[in-house]
Amino acid sequence: MIYLTLEKRLHFSPVTRISVSLIAIAVAILVGGIFLFAVGVNPFHAYGLVIEQIFMDYWGWQDLLVKIIPFLLTGIAVALAAQMKLWNIGAEGQLYLGAVAATWVALNWGNELSIWMMIPIMILSAMVSGACWAFIPGFLKAQFGVNEIITTLLLNYVAISWVDYLLYGPWRDPGSNNFPVTREFPDSAQLPAFGNTSIHFGLIIGLMVIFLVYFILEKTEVGFKVKVIGDNIYAAKYSGFNIKWITLAIVMISGALAGIAGMAEVAGVHYRLKQNFSINYGYTGIIVAWLGRNHPIAIIFTAFFLAVVFVSGELMQLEFSLPIAMIYLFEGIILFSVLGSEIFTEYKIKIKNVVT
């Protein structure tokens, strides 16, 4: 009788991890192709178009490098918390709140301060705002053990409703023909771009944040504590770590990083706060972090990959008039295949032939 068994791997090599992730992506592309076929699009044509119009195209690369920015930031935000086994599903809401704070600064002080003052203040206010929003689930988790998955998720809806209120109410631009958008930011509140491109300064901020988080995790006492708490909370107690404080701090920092993502979008892309300016960037951060197994450096690559997915999706929308749901569908397939492949990082398949 021949049957398949799973055998535990004795060595966990990064090569295995990376190749398993790559295979998961390949499977997702394959399954995505089937779905494309199902809605009447030739997948070879579609994927060919992606290569031609995105990877072999100046504007395509520009789009990718703009799109990667929110993913870098929300991805690292989710990954940092996940290092401690805290699931921040609330990056979306924290991102919105970060954008709100940056917008308030831009609209109120923009005409009085120079860009050298404005940008740092906007970043700082977005961080404080995102951190304060994350304080709620962070405090509830640290003090009462309330499940952060639920609180962070539910607070997203509150945050988005808040923004809707502002846009339909006090912050609506009188000259917008009743569109729910704010006034445009003054020049001093707009993130500068590189040369003539639309790639804005947020790219540098995102990469800097990632390397900073990497450094903190690997090289500092607090980073060590975060890793121990994430691995074994009992060992952390035995070592006398202040788990409550660190939990609260990490959730708040995670919120602050997601807040920067919101600031970068409104100040670097739209130059105003508007409805649905985030196309699930916060939720996509979860996929970015997962796909990169919460490793800061890996997140640069997975954020790029998700940027490809989004830009390709926009291309499909234009070319084949497919709905945006196609992007979400594709994201779902990726997440599904990544989670499904998780087992192969720890086990390998063996074919056994047992004579009975």
Partner: protein
């Protein structure tokens, strides 16, 4: 080779080989069990005893080799087939559902009528229990039973399924001396009633008194099989270690250091458990420098919580805690580490290490502020690795490298890692909770030697143990805890094992 039709053989294994990735757990093992025999398997941790038993119990099939039961070749692909052939395994860790009754646990998975007749089943179980001296109340819930009673339920479970061949995997590891005595009686009853037993144990004394034959397993291979009367404990221990001289095996406790200053003094300490119920009830304790105080007690009587209070993990509700003459008020873990307290936790895998981090990282636990791990101001991975390599050499911690995940180490190597870490700081007081539980002879001797050496250099030690041999070997002074109260204390010279055993179970000794 013996014939497989020998009517006296109830079980025969021939050339059993089982490999796991990177490890040959059993290598061409031959083994026989005669009718009405107690055949002991002796071996260190990782010698392959459990693998062998699991194959007999049908948990997985061997790669090569044959199993014969009553001369008939069998293939087990699942445990039920093994049970149907009359094999019953009593696991070391109980497989019971705590909030179900004894009866419910016993009949679980056995064929019953659609409408359960509990009165009849209870009666059956009571009769079965009386037959073997396994007395338990069938309608009681498991959580209401003592450890010894729970074990009786486990044995009843396999007997109810009609087991004729019983495998007892370290059955006395969790029992008090009195409960162990009762178990020996039950084993004798079962042999009288024509059962045959494979007995697994580390404890040489009971092995020598119970067994008919003894097989020594080492690194997956059978080294020898003896008839009990043809061998003795020293000889077995030597063979078990792979024919090495037993020089490291025996340790003796040097006399207590004479400059005995009081290191630790507890008066009327009270503390609660995690659910808020009182678990420590006015505990008094005194430990001096250069002294090992042994704290005896059955698990769950407050020793674990006492260690947590002393090390700053658990707050005390009332009482006074004096440490080197200073009265402490709600000390934290960091305070106690700074004051030179080392702590080897009882559950070493759960508390002692962060399993998915490297061994090198694990040396930073409870020591993460130590400048020896840092460059100018940031962690220096080279220094960390370097330090870990030195310690691994010094403490004989066996692993592929210092970058190996601590969680994949064996129990002995984990314990050595913890000991290496705790003892490498400036120690003044060491709490060692069940330091040798589940360790093999080598690791045990090593760890005891390190602790005794530290004591002779003036360290004060609190040794928490259930193992009375260890207690008497190591301690200078003995305390006994029961129900969260200190029920007795005496110098070792005035103590005797029976008396301590009785006190542990709450019998007052005048």
């Amino acid at each position: 080779m013996q014939t497989s039709h020998n009517p006296h053989l109830v079980l025969e294994l021939r050339g059993i080989t089982k490999a796991f990735p990177g490890l040959i757990a059993n290598d061409r093992v031959d083994f026989t069990l005669k009718q009405g025999e107690i055949h002991t398997i002796l071996g260190e941790n990782g010698a392959g005893k459990s693998t062998l038993m699991n194959m007999i119990a049908g948990l997985y099939p061997p790669d090569h080799g044959d199993i014969f039961i009553y001369g008939k070749k069998v293939h087990f692909t699942n445990p039920r087939q093994s049970i149907n052939h009359g094999i019953g395994m009593v696991h070391q860790h109980f497989m019971l559902i705590r909030n179900h009754t004894v009866t419910e646990n016993i009949i679980l998975g056995t064929p019953q009528h659609f409408k359960l007749n509990f009165r009849r089943v209870n009666e059956e179980i009571r009769m079965l229990g009386e037959k073997y001296g396994l007395i338990v109340e069938p309608h009681k819930k498991i959580q209401e039973l003592s450890v010894g009673e729970q074990q009786r339920v486990e044995i009843l479970k396999v007997l109810y399924r009609g087991a004729k061949i019983l495998i007892l995997d370290e059955p006395t590891a969790v029992l008090t001396p009195q409960e162990s005595e009762a178990l020996y009686q039950i084993i004798a009853n079962m042999i009288q009633k024509d059962h045959s037993i494979i007995f697994i144990s580390h404890k040489m004394k009971e092995v020598m008194s119970l067994s008919d034959r003894i097989t020594v397993l080492n690194r997956g291979k059978i080294l020898a099989t003896f008839i009990k009367n043809e061998t003795d404990a020293q000889k077995l221990a030597k063979i078990m270690m792979g024919n090495e001289e037993g020089k490291e095996l025996s340790v003796s406790s040097p006399a207590p250091n004479q400059r005995h200053e009081v290191v630790l003094q507890l008066e009327k300490i009270c503390a609660n458990d995690d659910r808020g119920y009182q678990i420590l009830n006015e505990v008094d304790l005194e430990i001096r420098s250069g002294q090992i105080v042994g704290l005896a007690g059955v698990s769950g009587n407050g020793q674990a919580q006492l260690a947590e209070v002393l090390s700053g993990i658990r707050p005390m509700e009332s009482g006074s805690y004096t440490y080197w003459g200073e009265k402490l008020n709600a000390p934290t873990v960091s305070d106690m580490i700074a004051r030179g307290l080392g702590y080897i936790p009882e559950d070493r895998k759960r508390y002692g290490i962060a399993g998915s981090l490297s061994i090198a990282h694990n040396f930073l636990l409870r020591d993460h502020k130590n400048p020896k791990f840092y460059g100018q101001q940031f962690l220096d991975i080279n220094k960390m690795n370097q330090y870990a390599r030195v310690k691994m050499e010094e403490f004989d911690i066996r692993a592929a490298s210092e970058k190996t995940q601590a969680g994949v180490l064996s129990g002995g190597n984990i314990q050595k890692t913890i000991l290496a870490r705790e003892s490498s700081r400036e120690l003044k007081f060491l709490i060692a909770s069940q330091p040798i539980r589940g360790l093999d002879v080598h690791a045990t001797a090593f760890i005891q030697k390190v602790i005794l050496q530290a004591k002779s250099e003036g360290l004060a030690v609190l040794l928490i143990t259930e193992d009375l041999d260890e207690l008497f070997l190591m301690s200078d002074h003995i305390y006994v805890i029961c129900g969260g109260k200190m029920v007795g204390n005496m110098p070792k010279e005035e103590a005797n094992i029976e008396q301590i055993g009785l006190m542990m179970t709450g019998v007052t000794v005048s």
